[in-house]
């Protein structure tokens, strides 16, 4: 069967949305935590079709956007070394560090390569024995298995010239951070379907219970998202806080056990600094002692990286929904998409950049 097309059926989506309209009776705030889902929602225009009562807020689930400035600057310093071939997912190339991005240093002569998979970086290491190949291992639990596999393979092949610059982040601690905030507005969660493909959703019932929010595992096609929202709204209206699965073709409660075992071997929980949010305890993964030799931060001494997010930036408040972007003193003046001071202006789907662009460009465009 064609798994993607069937879930892009516009007619069916609209009928599910009609069911949401029939179900909803009052205002609800639902967060899709995953940036890929944010992307899908904006691309399909799903948010416009929802009843006014439902406000979708976009979570911090974009790994390129939440990677800390310090780690980006470390990556830039490592990538600039003449003996290094720095491999990265494509979307990391334009993330601004303190002064540069990977594009700039590539233009200035650094060897930066875009790969689709970390396993391609291992091949590059094999083909370039006189170079050090470093992979910028960003991502959530979905990407971690691929990165782990690359290290396992490099070790099995005896490669001494492959390492990871690790910036893994994990979803459950972020959900805790959001829901545990005193000014939290999120009443229901769409859980990230591909994270759950690996991890399952056995970790979520305690969260749902603790904060009293429904959590629905949701896929990425418009129909998946509409279904996830419907199931969340139904629970909200009923007052339940179950963990449900709207992505059962991909996700099981237990997740992929083999992948989880691989992750436990290669990675261990560490504190992680999220750009725009700050450090969340035990919210990321670092390499275990067995694989510490593959850690680029150990292999390359990049000196002391001194970074500081702008003191003007109120990203933390904005990301928690406490303030609106135009309430920031830097908004649109010192801070623009061309010269972002904070994460919400970095991401094209970030609240600050969205506000900036809409206010700048869209004054004459009324909703259809």
């Amino acid at each position: 069967m064609e798994f993607s097309q069937a879930f892009r059926n516009g007619d069916l989506v609209q009928r599910v949305i009609a069911e949401i309209r029939r179900t909803v009776t009052r205002d609800w705030v639902i967060m899709e935590i995953c940036g890929g889902q944010t992307h899908a929602i904006l691309q399909s225009g799903l948010d416009q079709l929802l009843p006014r009562q439902i406000e979708l807020v976009h979570g911090p689930g974009c790994p390129v956007c939440v990677t800390s400035l310090e780690l980006i600057d470390k990556g830039l310093a490592i990538a600039s070394r003449p003996e290094v071939i720095f491999c990265s997912f494509g979307d990391m190339l334009r993330v601004p560090g303190s002064n540069q991005d990977l594009f700039s240093i590539k233009a200035a002569g650094a060897q930066v390569r875009v790969v689709y998979s970390p396993l391609d970086a291992v091949k590059i290491a094999q083909q370039n024995p006189d170079k050090q190949v470093v992979f910028f291992a960003i991502g959530f639990e979905t990407t971690a298995p691929a990165n782990a596999a690359s290290v396992l393979q490099a070790k099995a092949m005896g490669l001494k010239n492959y390492s990871l610059l690790v910036s893994h982040v994990c979803v459950p601690p972020a959900m805790h951070a959001i829901l545990g905030s005193p000014d939290n507005r999120v009443q229901g969660f769409l859980a990230a379907g591909h994270v759950c493909a690996v991890m399952g959703y056995w970790e979520y019932p305690p969260i749902a219970d603790q904060y009293g929010v429904p959590i629905v595992v949701t896929g990425f096609e418009p129909l998946d998202l509409a279904q996830g929202i419907l199931m969340t709204v139904r629970q909200l209206e009923k007052g339940t806080h179950e963990v449900e699965n709207a992505y059962s073709r991909v996700v099981t409660r237990e997740g992929n056990q083999a992948a989880q075992a691989m992750l436990r071997r290669v990675f261990q929980p560490v504190d992680r600094n999220w750009r725009g949010i700050g450090t969340i305890p035990m919210s990321g993964w670092g390499l275990t002692p067995e694989f510490a030799g593959f850690d680029a931060e150990n292999r390359f001494d990049v000196g002391h990286i001194q970074t500081q997010e702008s003191p003007l930036c109120i990203a933390g408040e904005i990301l928690r929904g406490l303030k609106k972007p135009h309430e920031c003193s830097a908004f649109g003046t010192l801070c623009t998409p061309d010269n972002p001071l904070g994460a919400p202006m970095v991401s094209s789907e970030g609240a600050c950049s969205a506000y900036f662009r809409y206010h700048r460009q869209m004054e004459s465009v009324a909703k259809k």
């Binding site: 399909s44 494509g90 969205a354």
Partner: protein, 359 residues
């Protein structure tokens, strides 16, 4: 919620690109916003003149009065830098001929003559050059144009990428023919000659760097005969343009900007081959931003739209032509898309270089 705002969708870009205004980066060659900014900042002020300011794929101008020319001249140029030189469905030679034949033709001109400038990296097999020039000859014959002037330069190894070919082309625009990106009018129909993204995906697949094989052939083709047939059937065509670098979305934005109109297209009507869609799904690309080399955007008064489609359907390279939208007055200088599920969003120009996403 920003209920009164439409979401802008800048091609597949997250995060926003950093501004690069001190050195040239790859995005300046993307054909998208960074290219437009570079042109606006560096080239346009330096060369400023009314003909250049037309911002079409071609320059259109008369000759001195003594030449007694009826009609106008259409002139265009493109440099071709594709890697690899050969890919499914075409090669750099066919590309170099078709690209310029097409740009010249977007004036409604009869393309006549081409120049060809070769920049060759030392070490290129002469046999490669022979294959490329044979392909150029075949494409020129197909298009009915002649390559009448050339130039050959050789650069040291490591100072080029095998072979670059620049072509420039000249054509004759018959008297009274008025076609240009500034002429789209509310009410016009928007037609595309076939499925989008074949060229970009075919080349990316041939490049091999991302490790995928796609069952896709480049659409590279000369469009001048399609255009001649189209114009015979629909003489009041307002705009012709080939959505090359930056894809359909970027090209429609250029037109919307030039004509100060809104162009609205319907996602469900935009043709994309299944394999192209699969490749785009895999890489996080949007086919509306992927390059084409044998596709034609036609903007034509609604009353001639059916005649235009019928003529296109009867011509090679136009069999899959389809109406994808219409021109509206507002919001001016905007391209909107009705999504599959009935939403509407702004379709912006490509922000920088298109890159595979994980997110």
């Amino acid at each position: 919620m920003t209920e009164n705002k439409l979401p802008a969708f800048e091609g597949p870009v997250c995060p926003l690109p950093m501004r690069h205004d001190d050195q040239i980066v790859m995005g300046h060659g993307s054909g998208g916003r960074m290219t437009q900014e570079l042109i606006a900042r560096v080239f346009a002020p330096a060369f400023s003149n009314p003909i250049l300011a037309q911002s079409n794929d071609f320059a259109s101008f008369p000759l001195p009065a003594d030449a007694a020319l009826k009609g106008r001249i259409s002139l265009s140029t493109d440099s071709h830098i594709v890697s690899p030189l050969f890919f499914s469905g075409g090669d750099i030679g066919r590309l170099a001929v078709c690209g310029t034949v097409n740009d010249v033709s977007m004036a409604g001109a009869l393309p006549l003559y081409l120049t060809a400038g070769f920049i060759i990296e030392e070490g290129l097999p002469v046999e490669t050059l022979e294959r490329v020039t044979a392909s150029m000859r075949a494409a020129a014959q197909e298009a009915g144009v002649q390559i009448v002037a050339g130039d050959t330069k050789v650069v040291e190894r490591g100072k080029a990428d095998g072979l670059f070919i620049n072509t420039a082309g000249i054509g004759w625009i018959p008297d009274g023919r008025e076609i240009g990106g500034e002429l789209a009018r509310p009410g016009d129909a928007v037609i595309i000659s076939g499925a989008l993204g074949d060229h970009g995906i075919a080349v990316l697949s041939a490049r091999g760097e991302l490790g995928f094989d796609a069952d896709v052939r480049s659409d590279v083709a000369p469009l001048n005969k399609l255009i001649q047939n189209l114009l015979a059937a629909a003489p009041h065509v307002h705009v012709l343009r080939d959505p090359t670098r930056g894809g359909l979305a970027t090209t429609l934005n250029e037109i919307a900007q030039q004509s100060q109109v809104c162009i609205e297209i319907r996602e469900q009507d935009v043709p994309v081959h299944a394999a192209v869609r699969a490749a785009c799904d895999m890489l996080g690309f949007d086919p509306l931003y992927v390059a084409n080399e044998g596709k034609l955007i036609v903007i034509v008064p609604a009353e001639e739209a059916q005649a235009a489609l019928d003529a296109m359907h009867r011509t090679q390279y136009g069999e899959e032509a389809v109406r994808i939208g219409q021109v509206k007055a507002d919001p001016a200088a905007r391209v909107l898309m009705k999504t599959l599920i009935g939403g509407t969003r702004i379709l912006d120009v490509l922000a920088g270089e298109m890159l595979p996403r994980i997110c």
